[in-house]
Homo-oligomer: 231 residues x 2
DNA sequence: GAATTCAAAATTGTATACAGTTTGGAATTC
DNA sequence: GAATTCCAAACTGTATACAATTTTGAATTC
């Protein structure tokens, strides 16, 4: 039987996970020999995977100097969240206009089913996966593969920003509980009523609020660690 | 002095240009040895470039079978144009809200300066470059690098769809002249007034109209050449 | 003649070698 | 001691070789 997944795919996924889990410091140069040993592949497939990550914006590349972990700056975080608003709100608009009634019903049922898990989730990763899942499914309702691809890419890059945010929320427990699904419910209500304006306004507010929290969380978390070059 | 551009970059650009210029037939398998000879590089940097193009959605990849030119289907074209609406309308919204007055004035002057060129452009490529330039500059006004990156990617993949569209328009000269900037003027008016609703409505209409034309043009152009797998 | 088998040819997958470049630090200069 | 030079070590860039897999097409079977 033929293999299903290529070695480059495997290495790519491993690198993406490492990036999301803080394995690389911002602006850190990635040593290809060391990485290839850790990942159990030679430099040839490793570099193919690294090139994919550059194309997707996870890493940067400098000729004759290699691949670097992309640093987190406030303006970069702003850009990523604004792009999420663009993708998700347009997907929601499309979904309001043409998603089959059955899909919306299923989405609603999904949120009901997940609510207890949200409330009881203890692991941050678990909570984050649940939240990402809501947004992914929302964009799926649009039926647009490009919007799905773009969201997946953004989520991959935003993931560790959100982990920092959730960590802070849990530590402080200020106001909103981490597992609060009320914002998601508001979006759903608009979608069920197929009211583009109400739905997108709710979603936009939700994402922008999260952005503000996340920016602040990152600022606090990193302010004592290093000073990234901002421009 | 150090080199500025890497070999992989050069190969990548060459491949992208080839893809945009119909050098590869849809679903055609790309022969690595042949390509590496044409491009004057060994398979190692070639494959790195090909992996970037896969990550960006220009090509597809199958394990042990190599890289393939992505086929054009109506639903793929719809997805790309919808994604453009998402990116450009949100960028325009942001620009309405916070682009410096000076940048908007400069943008307006740019459109005035370009109008004669639009009218007189004879080469399709020239016309297309002018049109892409308008949209790129619009998104630049948002100051968001991620939106710019996403638009650049979409434009790269949409480019040859638009060439087909422009070709048909020129051949038929039905109704609208190819170099019509009135739709762009409407968008600009909304932006100058900083009226998000007016501006985004004009832009959305413009892109969606172009999508309809392009879909039809591709349908006609390809209907006798081959039948792509649609699903 | 359509379907099947199978081996040769073509093609992809990747480890490795080595050339070219950058980096780090010791030696030197001021 | 700070700045500069320079060389060795480390690292990246890529051509190449060869293993693994797929494709092709001729031979065979029904």
């Amino acid at each position: 039987m033929a293999k299903r997944e290529s070695n480059v795919d495997r290495v790519y996924e491993a690198l993406r996970r490492m990036a999301a889990d803080f394995a690389f410091k911002p602006d850190q140069r990635l040593n290809e020999s060391a990485l290839s040993e850790v990942l159990g592949a030679s430099r040839t497939p490793l570099r193919e995977a690294l090139n994919r990550l550059v194309a997707e914006g996870f890493l940067t590349f400098q000729i004759n100097r290699g691949f670097f972990c992309r640093p987190l700056t406030p303006s970069y975080i702003l850009d990523l969240y604004e792009a999420r608003v663009a993708i998700e709100c347009e997907a929601l608009r499309i979904a309001c206009q043409r998603a089959p009634e059955a899909d919306i019903t299923a989405f609603s049922a999904y949120l009901d089913r997940m609510e207890p898990e949200y409330e009881s989730a203890t692991e941050l990763e678990e909570l984050l996966t649940l939240d990402e899942s809501f947004h992914n499914r929302l964009v799926q309702l649009s039926g647009n593969s490009e919007l799905q691809r773009m969201l997946k890419n953004l989520n991959g890059r935003i993931r560790y920003i959100r982990l920092i945010d959730l960590k802070r929320m849990r530590d402080q427990a200020e106001g909103r509980a981490p597992g609060d699904v009320s914002a998601h419910r508001l979006v759903l209500q608009g979608l069920v009523a197929r009211d583009v304006e109400v739905a997108t306004r709710a979603l936009r507010n939700h994402i922008e609020k999260r952005r503000e929290e996340a920016t602040e969380a990152v600022r606090i978390a990193f302010s004592q660690l290093y000073v990234p070059d901002e421009d």
